[in-house]
Symmetry: C2
Subunit: 296 residues, 2 copies
């Protein structure tokens, strides 16, 4: 039934996701939904108990929003998820570990240093980091050739891109395996040929959102007017301020506050004073540039 | 039947469009389509003879693409357009002159200096300039308070924005009249509160398109991949390279070649060497970043 050739070894059957935050949960659930065995790891059983509630909510959301998920498949995804707060146990059977721990380089390096010791040799590691380059972590893994970045977008079941980006030392065969894995769990694999800070999506979005914010800060027009121009000219459903409300104003603030461009720093200050300090963080809080009815 | 109060004087009945290029023709035709009397001006009868063919083509296109245009209305628009190659004659009855002459500041200033002498005192002047600020031309008009910018997008019957932007000396009442005129001819008036180079649409588009081009020039991914990320993440029908093909690669080249940012200059060079020098200018030439079937 099984053979031991190299291709067989590279097939992804068991997936471990490190971190059960917003994106980690979605990645783990989507992987289970695609029929694979998943282990969700987080640092304590208390956190995992809460994570189980998040997974239940995700299942309910899939049932409402994803064609074919109701009547069994979303519940079956839940049944494929195991939970562990012990890294060695979580990684023991993994063909692929997807890391979605907080966005701090030193933390990620520490996690990879431990993981590199605990996981089998075969295991591929993929970071979901949105702002750090894989080359910054590659050496910590102890297996740089089996390490790359795979970046998911929020609301993975709608915005189903997986941006796949190696570092110079990534084995091209490992890259192909991860591309196939992404496709298998229902993602559109987006292949980056080089390391690029912000991948493709943020490389496009950040200048676009920054330009929109600069118009607002300069007093040229209000968010509705600016969004409306985009809707009409690009026949696009989402203008930049609607996008900012979806992404969350705190995320935008962190990006622009870290910029060296004084115009973008002014954008950050404006966001903080006019929105964030008033609790207007975007859709999840019910108000950002627009008001929203109660979160569902 | 008529009164002589100020409001009555400001009503737009007769419109003159200076220049019958791509946008001038569309503006004149759309104005006629909305039921107003239009005079199309260009510098010679030879040019106007060709322009009449453009208007015929526009009428045919409206009949195909605009609901309700077939069976009479598009032809009726043609019947409302007069032609003139004599500026004084063209402006004599105009309540509003929309200027769409080539994008050269000195040329526009000369046209406004003549027009200011020839047009009645009541006439409002609006420039469709995409890259020059109205304040740079206001004094040449001899009536800065009755002068502003009204910027249309290509394929006016679909992308029906009219970005309306005064200079500091524009009379607010004149601004309101032009906003109402834009609405009356089926545009969505986009009110800019301040002068802004590139208005709203180019202020958003240029950084977005530049970021996409930088990814291509750096070899991160190909146009299809980059567009695909945008489609999925923003649920948008048009990615940046599709937009560049629609706008025309020459237009993009001119913008980025004029930039002082070395990265954007590199974008211009890349566009020229890989596309423009090979005759790939976008949709109108059948090929740009994508190939198109024969133009219709």
């Amino acid at each position: 039934m099984t053979t031991n050739n190299a291709n067989e070894d590279m097939t992804i059957k068991n997936v471990t996701v490190l971190g059960t935050g917003v994106l980690g949960s979605q990645i783990a659930f989507q992987t289970g939904y695609a029929g694979l065995a998943v282990t969700a790891y987080d640092i304590s059983d208390e956190i995992l108990a809460k994570s189980k509630q998040s997974f239940e909510q995700l299942a309910a959301r899939y049932e409402r929003e994803v064609d074919g998920a109701a009547g069994g498949p979303a519940r079956a995804a839940l049944s494929r998820i195991d939970y562990s707060s012990e890294l060695g146990e979580a990684a023991r059977e993994a063909d692929l570990v997807i890391e979605a721990v907080p966005e701090k380089l030193e933390l990620k390096r520490e996690v990879y240093a431990q993981l590199g010791q605990l996981a089998p040799e075969k295991t591929i590691f993929a970071t979901n980091s949105s702002s750090l380059l894989p080359s910054a972590m590659a050496e910590s893994t102890g297996r740089p050739e089996r390490f790359l970045a795979m970046h998911f977008a929020n609301e993975i079941w709608v915005h189903n891109t997986a941006e796949i980006m190696g570092h110079p030392g990534t084995d091209p065969a490992v890259y192909r395996v991860v591309v196939e894995f992404a496709r298998r769990i229902g993602m559109v694999p987006i292949e980056l040929k080089k390391e690029q800070p912000g991948y493709i999506i943020n490389s496009l979005s950040i200048p676009w959102l920054g330009a929109a914010m600069e118009l607002l800060v300069a007093g040229v027009a209000d968010p509705e007017t600016i969004d409306n121009v985009w809707h009409i000219d690009k026949e696009a459903p989402e203008g930049p301020f609607q996008n900012l409300d979806r992404v969350g104003l705190n995320t935008a603030y962190n990006i622009y506050a870290a910029s060296e461009d004084p115009k973008l720093q002014a954008v950050a200050t404006y966001l903080k004073e006019h929105y964030i300090d008033q609790g207007k963080l975007g859709q999840p809080t019910g108000e950002g540039f627009y008001k929203y009815s109660a979160a569902t």
